[in-house]
Symmetry: C2
Subunit: 311 residues, 2 copies
């Protein structure tokens, strides 16, 4: 089960209702954080995300609205006594940015934070998820991220478990969650023995800031969820190319072309504060579109079924 929590959904400038961009993936006591908009430390608190979780941070590109919340988060963690290290991934300039912040404004030192300069390709893997970066077309070097759940498990089949003599109880739960178990007689049971054919891996894509591009189309192919920027409505489509952004119609067209299941639009301009024009225009192309809201949560189960919870 993965929770995707929208900590900030604003565009360029924060408003009363929308913080600047940040998205948390929460699963099994672990957090992956994509972008760090200003005032993130307060959003983390509001979302109930704990201090000492295992955590990795991914920055899409070096524009202030995507990064200004990072130093405050490091400060808060230090003031509260975080001790677990924190890895941060992003464009090359991120290394100097974090270093100078640490050197000049006293971010504290209760934990180690290491910044990695990354390129397109696989950048992170743990027991549950793989993160692949891909280069998008914004102003300057910019990345999107593809997040893949790597342990898909088929539907649990109780009759098969009974046939193999596995007692009903915790072992069934573990097998159903994709874990191997050992019976009292030493027999090792692999989950594949008691589950149906595995579904496709869950795939979620975050566009970062970009023009429509093949890298985003390819990364999004058959994705369960595409989380995409949609800075402009069609009325201001002339602004999208020079500013390196998309209209909501362009984002919806990618969702359609890439055959995604759900399109979630975020990072639209403050000029459309209620977002209705952004949502309506996208829906005319790709009906299964929703607008991200601050502190909205999408819970995705291992079969890719999702539930949307707004505050």
């Amino acid at each position: 089960m993965i929770d995707v929590i929208f900590l900030g959904t604003g565009g360029s400038m924060p408003t009363e209702g929308r913080n600047l961009p940040s998205i948390a993936f929460q699963y099994e006591g672990q957090i992956l954080l994509f972008d760090c908009g200003e005032d993130l430390q307060r959003q983390i608190e509001r979302a109930g995300i704990g201090l000492n979780k295992r955590m990795a941070i991914f920055i899409s590109h070096m524009h202030a609205d995507h990064i200004l919340g990072l130093p405050g988060l490091l400060l808060r963690f230090s003031l509260l006594g975080r001790f677990k290290p924190l890895n941060i991934y992003g464009p090359p300039e991120l290394i100097e940015y974090v270093k100078v912040n640490q050197a000049t404004i006293n971010l504290g030192t209760t934990f180690e934070s290491i910044v990695y300069s990354i390129e397109a390709g696989p950048v992170y893997e743990d027991h549950e998820l793989i993160v692949n970066a891909f280069e998008v077309e914004h102003r300057g070097y910019a990345l999107g991220y593809q997040i893949i759940h790597k342990r898909p498990t088929g539907v649990f089949l109780p009759e098969k478990a009974k046939e193999l003599g596995i007692p009903q109880g915790p072992l069934w739960g573990k097998l159903s969650d994709g874990e191997r178990v050992v019976l009292d007689d030493g027999t090792v049971i692999d989950p594949s023995q008691v589950t149906g054919p595995p579904p496709n891996p869950i795939k979620i894509v975050y566009s970062g800031d970009t023009r429509p591009c093949d890298a985003l189309r390819n990364a999004s192919k058959d994705a369960n969820i595409l989380i995409s920027e949609a800075m402009f409505s069609s009325e201001h489509s002339h602004l999208a190319p020079p500013r390196g952004h998309m209209t909501s119609i362009e984002a919806a067209t990618i969702a359609l072309e890439s055959n995604v299941d759900l399109l979630v639009l975020t990072h639209y301009s403050p000029r459309y504060e209620d977002g209705s024009v952004i949502e309506e225009e996208a829906k005319s192309i790709f009906p299964n579109t929703i607008l991200a809201r601050d502190l909205m949560r999408i819970t995705i189960d291992k079969n890719g079924r999702y539930k949307i919870i707004t505050q």
Copy 2:
């Protein structure tokens, strides 16, 4: 008339009710801004402070909770098309901090911002106010600021104006505001000819972060308002010296020793979120104490009379 607007009154970490430290002095279309806590750009908007005001910024010291709102403010001003230059004053490291932020996270370039490294002494003067910095005792180099209204004008005396043949109307207003006027016959009238003896200049002091020290006592001598940090209650007074902060009792003692008129306490720890213990302990020493609240405004007229407006 000077408006002192508390844009952030929090301590170390922002909370639901309190942004990180920032205080605006607003007068005659001009803004002086002291410290820049995170999310300042949204507080500026909430306080109704305009984009293209003449503005100078003063940073007390290089700790993240006093400075993280500065890059976002520069970004916002640039996105909205500010064109007036902006001078920023503070410790020497501020120069590198702003430079690296500008170089790495695309803060925009619609206006010029120049950073000045300052020491104790006079640092700023315009037609209305003088700002003097003084060095305080925190962890590392830290400044407090003394803000002085430099054109005190006595009470306007209508009978004197009549004697000199000045027609009742706009000229009376200008003289009353301390401006020279020229009559139709070419006679120049100085405000001193039609006003009573000038009162003492209005003096407002901002402590920054500090232990009790003579520099703060001296700067605050007979001040109208002392705006002071009060990080701890007496229960946690043992934390004040190692962390370079004051208890509210220490702040109140300075207010008493320096014979200030009003003591405004700010930047107290989130552990006393409602602030009552901070306020009560200070009042036991110095009764004319209030707690600063976010977006609270103190309006001070030219005679030093003040009015407090909370939202």
